[in-house]
């Protein structure tokens, strides 16, 4: 996989975390006891494990009431089971698995590492999800039926003052008042060649602090989520690549030239 030439590139981007993931119809007959075999698929590279609450199903739909953040509705008892994190030795890479979700995260912390780039993450994710698909087919006679995919880029931009937002974001034209906190979000509906909506690009800028309150930063989160053109792995990977393209393009559009120079924009 080769990086598209048209995308803005940075030598030191403020990326803190990248997430690639899919949601699929739950595996019939799957129970918690089967999770050991799933871990075995990835254990060589992800030897650590943690258990977390399962994620609720989410669906990007369009038309009708325009909810800025989609409704989060929990119905009945959640299917028995949990979400598992399989972590790499350095804990910078992780796989998230539950019977209807499969995600991978790269994060800068806890052991600061250079960003491996989308191409590297996508290739690893592609190999991992195919491995999982083969396991589902052999043990459950289930062919992965993907109904949603998502890619998220989370940036941490350290600042001296939240009033400096205009230094970093084209969206903010500043002002002379002191900004105590900032939280803004907006969405764009993404349409296919047929004009029909299939994804949503969500943007969020938040002011954040370290726990001791001494260091300030903006967290810029860009998420591309929706329904791939098909239910198979190839379609999901194409969706993720399109999402990355949209996110990186948008990052170049909403951040200032001055900020991009600081992040080492490759001209």
């Amino acid at each position: 996989m080769r990086r598209p030439d048209h995308l803005p590139d940075f030598t030191d981007p403020p990326l803190d975390e990248v997430v690639l993931g899919v949601q699929f119809a739950p595996v019939p007959g799957y129970a918690s006891v089967h999770s050991m075999k799933v871990w075995d698929l990835f254990r060589a590279d992800f030897p650590l494990v943690q258990e977390l609450p399962a994620l609720e199903p989410q669906f990007e739909t369009f038309g009708g009431v325009s909810a800025q953040t989609g409704p989060r509705i929990q119905i009945g008892a959640f299917p028995v089971g949990s979400r598992l994190w399989f972590l790499s030795d350095d804990e910078n890479h992780l796989i998230q698995f539950q019977p209807d979700r499969f995600l991978t995260n790269w994060r800068r912390e806890p052991n600061t590492r250079p960003y491996p780039r989308f191409e590297g993450l996508a290739e690893t994710f592609d190999a991992s999800i195919r491995k999982l698909g083969v396991h589902f087919e052999s043990d459950f006679s289930y062919r992965m039926d993907i109904n949603q995919a998502e890619v998220a880029y989370i940036n941490i931009i350290p600042v001296a003052s939240f009033s400096d937002a205009g230094t970093w974001f084209e969206l903010w034209n500043g002002g002379t008042f002191e900004v105590e906190a900032l939280n803004t979000s907006f969405n764009e509906v993404i349409r296919g060649a047929d004009g029909k909506p299939f994804a949503r690009l969500s943007h969020q800028i938040q002011s954040v602090l370290t726990a001791d309150g001494k260091q300030r930063a903006f967290r810029l989160s860009l998420t591309f989520k929706g329904k791939p053109a098909g239910t198979g792995i190839d379609a999901a990977m194409e969706f993720l690549a399109a999402g990355r393209d949209a996110i990186v393009t948008r990052f170049g559009e909403i951040t200032t030239k001055e900020a991009q120079r600081k992040w080492g924009k490759v001209e």
Binding site: E56, F59, T61, V65, R72, L94, E109, N147, A152, S207
Partner: protein, 173 residues
């Protein structure tokens, strides 16, 4: 302090925003950052319809096998979740919530019967919806298959609010 050191600081928490009731990070859940102890308060914006139907959704997803006297299975959790998402999106304050009808194969249907319209929405699974409308006043029928875009169905539902019989009588004279 250099940027790389700043970026190495873990556990950023949201600045003074725990007082904002509707605030929710878009990456809540999938991001590993949200597991590092942010103090964001999560809200669940829901319509009156979803609040009203919540228990019914619970009942439909908890039906016993053979609930219909044959081999009927409960409504699948995924199907119900998508239907609830749809109900939220179609919400019109002036209209009653739809009737929820379980189907023996684990899918479900939303129904409205009012103002000389019958609307039935078969939720077959995520992004797999077929909607039917019978216009009893004009003796016509429509059918649409929907994946992600519910604009046309939302227009159907909104049209339920008009008192068409009275409108027709006024127009007729």
């Amino acid at each position: 302090m250099g940027e790389s050191r700043m970026n190495a600081q873990p556990d950023f928490t949201t600045a003074f925003q725990d007082e904002i009731p509707n605030y929710r990070a878009i990456t809540d859940g999938i991001s590993s950052l949200s597991a590092r102890g942010t103090r964001v308060r999560v809200a669940h914006p829901r319509s009156a319809w979803v609040n009203e139907l919540e228990k019914q959704f619970d009942v439909l997803t908890s039906l016993r096998r053979g609930w219909d006297g044959y081999a009927g299975v409960p409504v699948s959790f995924t199907c119900a979740q998508f239907a609830a998402n749809l109900v939220e999106r179609l919400y019109v304050r002036s209209l009653p919530a739809p009737q929820l009808v379980p189907m023996p194969n684990g899918t479900m249907r939303l129904e409205w019967h009012m103002n000389e319209f019958d609307i039935e929405v078969d939720v077959l699974g995520p992004y797999d919806v077929v909607a039917y409308r019978s216009d009893l006043l004009n003796d016509s029928e429509d059918e649409i298959e929907i994946q992600t875009d519910f604009t046309e169905l939302a227009e159907w539902v909104a049209a339920l609010a008009a008192d068409r019989v009275q409108l027709q009588e006024v127009a007729g004279g």
